[in-house]
């Protein structure tokens, strides 16, 4: 139990999911057109909404990832992280049930992994980490209130 509540252990989990989000965000930011195609392939969003998400989601990932690593607003970021991961996982699950033969698009252009059970399990693991950080993450305010948000 002590290990679970150990702040360095919690921070390691935070840093891990933070890096996952930063990597995933940067990959998409460099090639938004491909990410837009990936979203379109899921056939879940109306056409006019796709590019809004293609532009916004990678930056949410990047900002949340950085804030998690630097220990800012941990619980709030853990909630955003877990909610986004839950939405991604549901999208993959729906696609698997509909039998769509599409690549996941989860890590931008370099990711050619297909949607499937493995991806869902991977995501569930990442969601559990997010919920763990939500429960045990640092809820104190940043030490220096004057510190600028580095984004």
């Amino acid at each position: 139990m002590k290990l679970i509540t150990n702040k360095y252990f919690v921070w390691t989990a935070q840093a891990f999911i933070g890096f996952v989000f930063i990597y995933s965000g940067l990959e998409k930011i460099t090639d938004p057109a491909t990410f837009s195609d990936a979203i379109a392939n899921y056939k879940l969003l109306p056409n006019f909404a796709i590019n809004f998400f293609a532009v916004a989601v990678p930056w949410i990932e990047l900002v949340v990832g950085l804030l998690l690593i630097f220990n800012f607003y941990v619980k709030e970021n853990a909630i955003i992280y877990s909610s986004l991961m839950l939405v991604f996982t549901l999208m993959i699950l729906i696609s698997v049930i509909r039998g769509l033969d599409i690549s996941c698009g989860c890590f931008g252009t370099t990711d050619t992994q297909k949607v499937g059970l493995l991806k869902i399990l991977e995501n569930l693991g990442l969601i559990i980490l997010g919920i763990y950080v939500l429960f045990y993450g640092d809820s104190s305010e940043p030490e220096s209130p004057n510190t600028q948000n580095e984004n």
Binding site: A33, A40, F48, N51, V55, L62, I102, N151
Partner: protein, 168 residues
């Protein structure tokens, strides 16, 4: 263990990220339009001649009957599914060019002629990789592209010629 959090902070973080995203998209050379261009292929009509244009809207969608006629006429078919699906079964004589592996030096490109007609397909109307591959090929200068949207599933249902191959 405590899960108290502030909704205001969540909204603030999201707002900052979204604003940064739109600003970056506005100034970035790889930025995209805020409304996605919808890709609807014009349908192929067997009476018309095959025209050469560099506009993706001129990539034609072919229905199964026309696709089969193309097959009988010896037109090259390109399978945009992955190598395993291709190995399990594909339209007889088709060339495998998985869209997810697309690169300008992919070995499949050497087998494809830029002026000859090419019929591209994937598993069904839901897969989308056939249209994506057609658009990418067109950017490389391929001029005679057709997408057989109903794809492999429809072909199999009609009992048209197929073959399997061993994955290397």
């Amino acid at each position: 263990m405590n899960i108290s959090f502030s909704i205001n902070k969540i909204l603030y973080i999201l707002a900052v990220a979204v604003v940064l995203g739109f600003l970056y998209n506005h100034f970035s050379p790889s930025g995209i339009n805020l409304i996605r261009e919808e890709i609807v292929l014009e349908e192929y009509n067997s009476d018309e001649s095959i025209s050469n244009t560099a506009d993706y809207s001129k990539i034609k969608a072919v229905k199964i009957d026309d696709a089969y006629q193309f097959y009988l006429d010896g037109v090259t078919f390109v399978d945009s599914r992955d190598m395993w699906e291709f190995g399990d079964g594909h339209i007889a004589g088709a060339i495998n060019f998985p869209e997810i592996e697309f690169s300008t030096d992919h070995p499949a490109l050497k087998k494809l002629d830029k002026t000859e007609p090419l019929v591209i397909y994937c598993s069904s109307a839901d897969c989308g990789t056939s249209t994506d591959l057609a658009i990418k090929l067109q950017r490389l200068g391929y001029q005679n592209l057709f997408v057989f949207e109903e794809g492999w599933d429809a072909w199999l249902e009609r009992d048209y010629p197929i073959e399997t191959s061993v994955v290397e």
